[in-house]
């Protein structure tokens, strides 16, 4: 083991302990009602989890993208109802563009490619436009917005109090809010030209990677629950896990989970190494969404009726899987994009591209 993997192993251990200790049925029920868990956020922020992968000089917590990936996977496993991925991506937008990061949860947008216009008004910017289904907008301290200015895109740190926010939610009751900016004033010190690499495609890419990592974790949890249930539940005088029909389904499920974990973490590594990560992230989002499709339903099938109740924990994982697989592009959208790119490259480039790493 080298130093980097030692540090990551410690991070994985401490993040796992943090979420295992604090995310329980009561917290998740409250978050379902309130949209999130401020208490869990405070604990995570104290442990410096939200701004991992952002340089300390920029107000981040340091560490690498792979460290962040490890944390997002664990947060997904525990269904942590806090905007970790969104804060990390918003923080990245700010840090890349030379803006300071304040504390607290952040959201970013647009996430559906809408155009927000930015006009200069003396020393201030005025932003207008609307953004659909921005994750966690209503609970964010700041909205980090990619807007189109007269001289190119800018990144602006927006006070959500100045926006018209219509609450929305996804299947798992996570906030997905419509945000309207109507001449929202942003002081010059809170906006900057978007650094190269900070653009709509990059937001979608990083969002997709974050969801892939979260899905990998949620799948791991759903598998754990299904396996445990199969070892505890008896029917026909035997543990249901003793039936080969159940065993074969669980084995298939385990394969899907392993593929999801491998793809999601690998994609984080590819992005960290600065390669053209489109193939890796597209593959990760496609593969995790496919695993979610197969895995969530196997998890429910193994559980029988108890799995579909509000009382039993499985839905915290499966509802998120069904929500997250659509966010930042579902498997069809990414597959079409990837397929077109591969076709444009030509048949003889297929193998070299797939093995570029």
């Amino acid at each position: 083991m080298n130093d980097v993997s030692d540090i990551r192993a410690m991070l994985i251990e401490s993040a796992t302990r943090l979420f295992a200790d604090h995310v329980d049925a009561k917290l998740l029920a409250a978050a379902k009602r309130d949209g999130w868990s401020p208490g869990l956020w405070n604990i995570a922020e104290e442990a410096q989890l939200p701004l991992i992968s952002i340089a300390e000089e920029a107000g981040g917590a340091g560490g690498s993208l792979s460290d962040l990936a490890a944390v997002l996977r664990i947060a997904g496993r525990y269904a942590a109802p806090i905007p970790l991925a969104e804060t990390a991506i918003a923080g990245w937008m700010l840090a890349r563009s030379g803006l300071q990061i304040a504390g607290g949860p952040l959201a970013f947008g647009p996430v559906h490619g809408e155009i927000i216009t930015a006009r200069k008004h003396g020393a201030q910017w005025r932003l207008s436009g609307s953004m659909r289904r921005v994750p966690w907008a209503r609970i964010a301290q700041r909205l980090v917005v990619l807007a189109a200015g007269p001289g190119g895109d800018i990144v602006a740190c927006v006070d959500p109090m100045q926006c018209k926010i219509t609450p929305g939610r996804n299947l798992a009751d996570e906030p997905r809010d419509d945000v309207v900016l109507d001449n929202v004033v942003v002081s010059a010190s809170l906006a900057a030209p978007a650094a190269s690499g900070v653009n709509h495609a990059a937001l979608r890419l990083r969002g997709a990677l974050a969801r892939a990592l979260s899905m990998a974790g949620a799948l791991e949890r759903a598998l754990e629950l299904a396996v445990r249930y199969a070892t505890e539940r008896s029917q026909f005088g035997r543990k249901i896990g003793q039936f080969q029909a159940i065993q074969q389904e669980l084995a298939r499920f385990a394969g899907e989970v392993a593929a999801a974990v491998a793809a999601a973490l690998s994609a984080a590594g590819a992005l960290e190494r600065g390669e053209d990560a489109t193939l890796a992230v597209a593959s990760a989002k496609i593969r995790t969404a496919q695993a979610a499709q197969e895995g969530a339903l196997i998890a429910h099938q193994v559980h029988g009726a108890i799995g579909v109740t509000d009382e039993y924990a499985l839905h915290h994982s499966t509802l998120r899987l069904w929500a997250w697989r659509e966010e930042f592009g579902n498997e069809a959208a990414w597959a079409i994009e990837l397929g077109r790119a591969l076709a444009a490259g030509g048949a003889d480039r297929l193998w070299p591209v797939l093995t570029r790493d």
Partner: protein, 395 residues
């Protein structure tokens, strides 16, 4: 699963990258010279090609130099294997020696066996087959009935092996047989012997594949003498020996890439601007391959004993057998997805003797499609193994 693997840090080292280019150039030149005709389904037996690969140092390449190896890493071997598969190169002659019998001899063989066989395999001159399955022992391999009886200076072997690929062209095969009667624990009393295929008492008969091709055989052993020095490892330890290297055997690129050249030809056929339906299918095939390869790479990298091990033998302490079973299970199904995508997008009839590569590949892969999920551990057996690991003992 894969708890010990850090996927984000996993990448090919520079040595493997340059080797990748080297193998690609070699294969490009071979194809340009029409030195072989690429086929899918059952890889072709081409001793000439095998000797060229050997001359490059790509057979037995992870073995110690003193046995003809090159002491290269498992990842480098991985790269060679996947390039051969991507080009549909004819590797049957060296396949089992390089992949199974060589590593087994390295681990369990005596010094004389190592010196006799390993350099010859690495030179591309000695070809091995595997004598595992029998008419009544398929998935349940421990039930083999072929038996060896003790005689002065050796053993007399009698029995029947089936599905023995390329036995009619190989020099010898590993025979799993019973050297002691089944006395309760069926995994005991099994041994591995090296049987020369031209030895008196060996009869080889073809079992034709459904398209008429001959690669399978049944091999009859009638009182065949095997000297003591051709016993592999210890008498009675055959089961442990054949199961010890399954993680690599089950997780290699050959478990998900045998139809890959059809994917390449499909893309050629679709052209540069496919419609959304075709693009979606291509994108999904690519994503699944990329993910499988990451898992397969992870296993090869984790089991790599490293350059200082001296013996070229897999890290025994790492148990990735379940992960390998997952890769084989998913990989063999993935290979079928390529066939189906090609079939559904192209609307052509699979034609065995077609002039066009695409139609021919389609025909070759369709008839061989049932094989991959049967050989080397059926889907159902693999899933039982995985489930056992997941669930533990249930009462």
């Amino acid at each position: 699963m894969f708890q010990q693997v850090d996927f984000s840090a996993l990448e090919l080292p520079a040595s493997a990258r340059s080797l990748q280019q080297e193998v690609r150039e070699f294969l490009r030149a071979e194809i340009a010279a029409q030195a072989f005709k690429p086929h899918l389904g059952h890889t072709e037996f081409d001793a000439g090609f095998t000797r060229k690969v050997a001359a490059r140092g790509w057979i037995g390449m992870t073995w110690p130099k003193r046995y003809g190896g090159r002491e290269r890493s498992y990842l480098e071997r991985f790269v060679v294997t996947e390039e051969m598969l991507a080009a549909a190169a004819p590797c049957a002659a060296h396949w089992f020696g390089d992949r199974q019998t060589g590593p087994s001899l390295l681990r369990y063989g005596n010094e004389q066996q190592k010196q006799h066989f390993l350099p010859a395999i690495a030179r591309g001159e000695c070809y091995f087959a595997l004598g595992m399955s029998e008419p009544n022992s398929g998935s349940d391999l421990a039930s083999v009935k072929t038996r060896a009886e003790r005689v002065p200076n050796g053993w007399r072997v009698t029995g029947q092996k089936v599905w023995t690929s390329w036995a009619h062209k190989a020099h010898a095969f590993f025979v799993l047989c019973r050297t002691a009667p089944d006395a309760g624990n069926r995994h005991e009393g099994l041994s591995q012997l090296i049987v020369e295929l031209n030895a008196p008492g060996v009869t080889i008969r073809p079992i034709r594949f459904m398209n008429g091709q001959h690669h399978f055989n049944e091999v009859f052993l009638d009182n065949v003498f095997v000297p003591d020095d051709k016993v592999v490892g210890d008498i009675g330890q055959g089961w442990q020996q054949i199961t010890s290297e399954l993680a690599l055997e089950r997780s290699g690129p050959e478990r998900y890439m045998t139809t890959f050249p059809l994917f390449t030809e499909l893309l050629r056929r679709l052209g540069g601007t496919p419609d959304a339906r075709a693009a979606e299918m291509v994108g999904k095939l690519a994503a699944r391959l990329w993910s499988l390869r990451r898992m397969s790479l992870a296993i090869a990298m984790t089991l790599d004993p490293g350059p200082d091990s001296g013996d070229g033998v897999v890290k025994a302490a790492v148990d990735l057998a379940t992960e390998a079973a997952l890769v084989k299970d998913m990989g063999t199904f993935y290979e079928r997805e390529i066939i189906d995508a090609a079939r559904l997008l192209a609307d052509v009839e699979p034609t065995p003797d077609a002039a066009g590569t695409f139609e021919r590949y389609l025909a070759e892969t369709i008839v061989c499609a049932p094989v991959a999920t049967i050989r080397g551990g059926t889907t159902q057996v693999l899933r039982n193994i995985i489930a056992r690991k997941l669930l533990g003992p249930l009462k």
